[in-house]
Every structure is written in C-alpha cells, then in structure tokens.
Amino acid sequence: MTDPTTTVASSGAATSAPLLRVTGLHKSFNGVPALRGVDLDVRPGEVHGLLGANGSGKSTLIKVLAGFHDADSGTVSIHGRDLSSPFGPRGLREEGMGFVHQDLGLAPAGTVLEHMALDNVGHASGFRRVDWTAERTRVRELLDRFEVEVDVDATIDMLTPVQRAMVAVVRAVGGQERIAGGERRGQILVLDEPTVFLPRHEVGMLFALLDRLRAAGDAVLLVSHDLDEILQVTDRITVFRNGETAGTRHTQGSTRDDLVQLILGARDEHVAKGAAVVHDDRPPLLSARGLTGNRIVDLDLDLHAGEVVGITGLAGSGFEELPELLYGVRAPRAGTVVQEGQPVTDLRPAASMARGVILIPADRKGQGGVLGLTVMENMSLPFLTRRARGFRVDWKAIEAQAQEACDRLNVVPPRPEAQFGHLSGGNQQKALLGKWLDTAPRVMLLSEPTQGVDIGARREIFKLIRAAVAEGMSVLCATSDYEQLVEMADRVIVLDEGRIRTEIHGDDITKDALASAVYAEEAS
C-alpha cells in the first residue's frame, strides 16, 4: 500500500497551483489510526472525487478540515498558505472552504433567506441590525448567479430534496464569499455524499450546479460511494484506503474496474470461516414477508438456524434499516415478521427480547450503551428481572456474570466497574456482545458491528459470532464493510433502493463480487 503520491506528482505538472493541498495528515483515535498520512490536492476549476471504503478515512479528513477533530500531524495549505491543525472550531471556513454535510444542516422551519442571512450576520457583532432588504437582494443575486430557482421566502420544508441540497451548496459558497471579501478568490467546497438521499432523476440538477461552480474557478471536493456518479461528474479522483492515499487518477480514461481495484487494494483471497451447518430444512427462525419501512420495500427474507446472513448496499438503499425493523424499533409500514412459523403480533424491543431476538445497533454510543455508567451496569439491563429476587436485584450475581463475560470475551480492562465510555470501541462492542450472548438469543441482529473497532477486536468479534452460529443461532448482519462480509457471512443480500438486487452465496462472496453488485449500474 505504498504507491501514494507518484501519480499525483506526475499528473499535477501542467495546471495551476492547487487551491487546497493536504500533506501527510495523521489522526488517531484512542491509539487506533484513522489517517496515516494522507495526501490530496484540489485545483481551481475542478470537481475532485474522493472515494474509499468505509473506514478508509474520508470522513475523518473532512472532519479535520471542518475543525471537528484536530489532526495529530501533517500540513494543509490553502491558496498556497501553509496552515497546521488545530484549525479552531470554525475549521478552515475563514480560509475559503465551505462544507455541505450529508444532512445538509438546514432547519426545516427556517426560510432560505434566513439561512443565508445567518451566515452573513453570524459573526457580526450581536446587536447590529440585520438589513433585510440588502440581504434579500444579496441572496436573490446569489441564487440567480447559480441559476437556482427557489423562492427566498420559502421555508426549507417546502422545498424538494434537490432544492434543499442546492440551497445548502449555494449557502456554503455564499458564506465564504463574504469572508473572502473584496475580489473573489477561488472557493473550495466540500460535499459529503450529497446525493444519497436525493431522487435519482434530480441528481443531475445538483451536478449542473457543480458545473457552474467549476466554471467560476472554484474547486469542489465530492465525497461519494457511487462510482457512476463520480465518473460522470468529476475531473480527477483520489482514493483512500486504510487511512492512506491509494492513488489519484484522471477521471478521463478511468474505468469502474480501476476504481474498484483501487478502493479494495490487493486482490483478496477467500477466508475460511468453517463449514456452516445451515438448518434450512426446519422452518426459519425469523422471516420477513412483504416488509416495508422508510426505505425498504416489500422485502421477503428468511433467517435459518446456523447461518450468518449479510445485508448490504449503498447508503440509503435500506440495508441499514432492516435490523431495526425486525427488532421493532419502529413499526413497519407494511408486512409481517414471522418467528418459527408464528406470525409476530407484538413487534416491540421488549417483546423481541422476550422471544430471543436481540439487536446490537450501529450507534454504539447513542443506542448501544450508556457511556457514563459502568460496564457492569450496561451489561445488567436485560437481566434485571431475572436477577431480581422479590424486590431486590442481586448485584453480586450480576457482577459475577459481568466479570465472567469480560474474561470470556477478553474485554480490556476486565473490570466490570470500569466506566463504559472509557473503553475503546472494540472493547465496548465485546462487552455488549457478551451481554447479549448471555441472554442466549435465537436470532441476533447486528448493524455495522465492527464500526470503530480495531483489527484485533474485529477478529475476536467475528470468531464469537461464528461460534454462536455454530450452536444454532441465526445472525443478520447489516454492514457496508465488505471485508467483514467476506470473513463472516454465509450469504449476502444486496439491496438497491429498498429491494433485493442480488444474493451471493458461500465461496462466491468476495470483495470484488460485493463491490460489483453494490456499485452495479442502474438496471433501468
């Protein structure tokens, strides 16, 4: 993985100096490196794509630039000026960078005018009167210049998704123009997966806007998972892999296969997971029939004892939602869940737990465990009723059980009274896994189970899950981490726009096969 900058140097000779240059940026979280010295340069008048698998460091880089994290080392230069982290809470916005995050950062009840005025007034002294007439003129002019046809007095919730995205983009550009003042310097706009939640046919409108930015001499850094999109709209593409720059390519002349190769790295060989004994002769442990949620449409699925079923797709395709639907976090819009032949009538978390169906959510800090409480307390919750003798909770028994689980799963430190939030991500996940395994579940629903988990703990978690499956459990694992699916899953279902696109079995599950299935061109 050490072929990073050569391509950059050779291709960057002809054109002007880069607007943004990132050199050797490092960042670790709790000793787990997220960026191991990435390089990137973005030139004026180009749309630069940033690709990489989950965990490759894309979002970490953007968060460093936005001032959300401080880098450990490395430099960033903008307009030729060298800057070093920390960049302060406003990040590099003062230097002419604008950020549009996936959720766009717009308040539904505010008007377009209010949002844009906010940026302008935001850092003026607090009691200065807002000149609404001048603001209105400025905002109209700005929207006209980029040919975005929205009413400045419309509230955000009245706009279509693509209009919202365009407002967010223009807002980011407009906000910086002010700061730059005087003559207009080239702006750098960072778009973090802006198209995930947009209807397909409207994406083009957003890209037309990017063209106009390019024509104005600005630079756009576009983060996306969608290869077709990247190939269609960018001039150059940088790919991150494992926190390093895997390479930079000119879009012209690049193919999907080149990029997939660059994203995945060396060709992977199949990893043995031990023979699965799938009991598909018996009725499935858990099934979905016609299940419809916010994104999933009319899904049929069977989970048998003894198998790990992976479910994946692009962000927004609905795979993230399936574990929650099956667990009953939210009521499905339509369809039924069937457990061992019996239709489930009471689809709520408490009832699911009682039936032996458990969920380990992706948001470990917000939904998995309480950071401020101890490991033991976090592990106690499902057992409170069982361990309560009369009115009294048997804390001794709970502590012994937690201690046993910590030792068995190799949680570091193996002290149940340690605060949950102080454990590393991998140890947190092992503690949660231990808790749920002690409830002897029939079906385990996992959502991104190894997000933010270091390599060592990943392996251990895979082993634990395989061992549980060997004893007749069924596991559903929703993830966008292909490597994990290769190592763990017996079959993988790929979703596209809420429907099953394809299913891959056994030895056919390779990173290449998954990437091609996920990134496959539009069928229509």
Binding site: P361, Q367, G369, A388, F391, P414, A418, Q419, H422
Partner: protein, 346 residues
C-alpha cells in the same frame, strides 16, 4: 465490590498494574467536609446559640418537608425529567387537607388520604401529557404547576385556613423523639426507601438508564414511556405527602407559601448529586445537601443576617452545585480514564 476470585487475576495478565478496586475519590465527600467545617465555624462564632440541642433539633425537624419533597423530586430527575409542579402540588395537598378537614368537617385521616390521591392525579396528568404527546416535561410541569396554583386559590378562596385537626400534628408530626421532632424520622425512613429502590430494585436501575439514554433503555426492552409516567406520579404523590406534613406542622394551610419550596428542592437535588455518587441523583446526597443548606442559613441568621440570606444561599447553592458537579465529574473522569487505559496498543 468483594469479588476475590483467585482465578480471575491469573486469567487476566493484560492488566499490568492491578489498580485499587475502587479509585479513591475525595470529591465524593467534599460537601460533607464543607458541612463539617461550616458547623465548626458557626459553633466557634456563635457558641451560645448555634451548637445547642434546641437549635440542632430545630434544624433537623424544620427541614422534613423540604427533604420529603426533594426525595420525591429525584425520582423523575433520575429518569431525566424535570418536575416543576412539585411545589404547587405540595401546596395543593396542604390546602386540600385544610379545606376538607376544617371547611367540610371530614375526618383528618380521610382528608389526608384524599389530599395524597389528589396530588397523584397531578402526576397522572403530567405524565399523560408528557408521554402521550411527547412534550418536554419542563414546559408541561411549568404549565400544570401554574394551573394547580390557580386551583388552590379557587378551593381555598385565596385565604389561609387555620384550625387543622391537632391530631395530625400531635400524633404524627411534632412530637419529639430523642429531642428531635418525629417528622425527621419519617423523612429518614423515606430516604432509606428511595435508596433501596434506586440501588437495589430493577425499577431503580431502569430509571437510571431511562435518564441516561432513552434509546439505550428502549432497545434493552425498557418501557420508557410508562417508566417516565410512573416517575411523575411518584414525585407528585410524594409532594402530596410533603404537603400533608406541611399542613400538620403549621396546623393550617395558606394558598401561596408552598411555592417557596421549589428552588430549595432543586438546589438540594442538584447539590446532592455532587456527593457520594457524583453525577447521579441520590437520596443520601440529597439528605446531606438539605442539612448542609439549613446549617448555612441558620448559622448566618444566628450571626444576625437578614431573612434574605435564605434566597442568596439557596439560589447560590443551586448554581454552584451545577458548576461543581460538572468540574468534579471531568476531573474524576480524566483520572479514571488514565486508570482504565494504561497503554493502548497502536
């Protein structure tokens, strides 16, 4: 914390230095220390009035109403909800006792039971609105508290009702035992009860999780809505009990003075969360906080301070308590973190 399994230590060679089981946290007892110092200082400055049996007995007995109210309030606080209607509920309960007993000629005990039931209705209404419509309890209880205040004026005709049956105060409340008014012991008993519920029942633990993270609690099978609703009913019911004690100690009920309990109750709860179990609302901490506050106020008043010192002290204590708990928590956090992760494999 007395697991001494020999196998365990050998099975975990990864912990390089076996840290003390529970890190010593002097901060946990800081308020107790300040309280002791305060007591000593006042004893030295006003030796003839402060460290006397009469004064101490008075301090202990006079705070029973506040302590009971605060012990009810920490239940929703533990579940992450504010109940700003507790003071009005207390007042309502006192007025209901007086109106039924004096104006309507009810038996005093029937009036007491009615008052507590009426108070619980306030909690039922609060909980219903909060959980059914998913509205911030802060604003709901603020509104309901004001509605309750209006009801109090209506049923009491805005006058103080005197002449509540002496049986209430004589047999239940102000008779001294070991020179301390007996209502002090009720408050202590309630403290034990709340401690038991918080630390040793599944309900208490679920409350804690619901307060720390609604999502975590729900995904672990806790019925968060019902729990929050129940906690509102408990705080209202306990406020009703506090109101009964209040009516008993004064043998009367006026329509306004209950409101004065709101801020001290919050001050006690928040100050209490900086003692013993830092960052958690806990009954013994609340008890310490209540008596810490009254020690300060009484001492200053005996030194000749005016009545307003009470407001200064309660208000100041609330703000300082919140700042303290934040500071102490971050400090302890850093140390404990260093202990948990001595070395991180890169």
């Amino acid at each position: 914390m007395t697991t001494t399994d020999p196998v365990k230590t050998t099975a975990t060679p990864k912990a390089p230095r076996k840290a003390a089981k529970r890190p010593a946290e002097p901060e946990r007892f800081a308020l107790l220390g300040v309280w002791a110092v305060l007591f000593l200082v006042f004893s030295l400055i006003v030796p003839e009035t402060f460290p006397t049996t009469a004064n101490i007995s008075n301090m202990l007995g006079s705070q029973a109403v506040l302590l009971v109210l605060a012990l009810g309030l920490i239940v929703p606080l533990r579940a992450g909800d504010y109940d700003l209607s507790v003071a009005s509920t207390l007042n309502l309960s006192a007025v209901v006792v007086a109106v039924l007993n004096v104006n309507q000629g009810w038996n005093i005990w029937a009036a007491v039971i009615a008052a507590i039931l009426v108070s619980m209705v306030v909690g039922v209404v609060n909980g219903f609105i909060i959980t059914r419509f998913d509205i911030d309890p802060f604003i709901v209880t603020l509104g309901i508290g004001t509605v309750v205040q209006g009801l109090i004026y209506q049923i009491s005709n805005s006058v103080t009702i005197t002449g509540v049956d002496r049986k209430l105060s004589d047999t239940m409340l102000t008779q001294p035992f070991l020179a301390i008014p007996v209502d002090f012991y009720y408050a202590i008993a309630l403290c034990v009860l709340v401690w038991y519920v918080f630390d040793h029942t599944a309900f208490g633990q679920r409350l804690l999780f619901a307060g720390q993270s609604r999502d975590v609690a729900r995904l672990n099978g806790v019925n968060v809505s019902r729990l929050r609703w129940v906690s509102m009913i408990i705080s209202a019911g306990v406020a009703g009990v506090a109101g009964v004690i209040y009516a008993g100690t004064t043998a009367s009920a006026d329509p306004t003075s209950g409101a004065a309990f709101l801020l001290p109750a919050f001050a006690a709860c928040f100050l209490g969360s900086t003692v013993l179990k830092i960052g958690r609302f806990n009954p013994w901490g609340t008890l310490i906080a209540v008596y810490f506050l009254v020690t300060g106020i009484t001492g200053l008043q005996l030194m000749g301070a005016q009545q307003y010192v009470q407001q200064l002290f309660y208000g100041g204590a609330l703000v300082i308590a919140v700042i303290m708990s934040k500071l102490v928590k971050t400090r302890g956090e850093r140390r404990r973190q260093a202990e948990v992760r001595p070395d991180v494999p890169a």
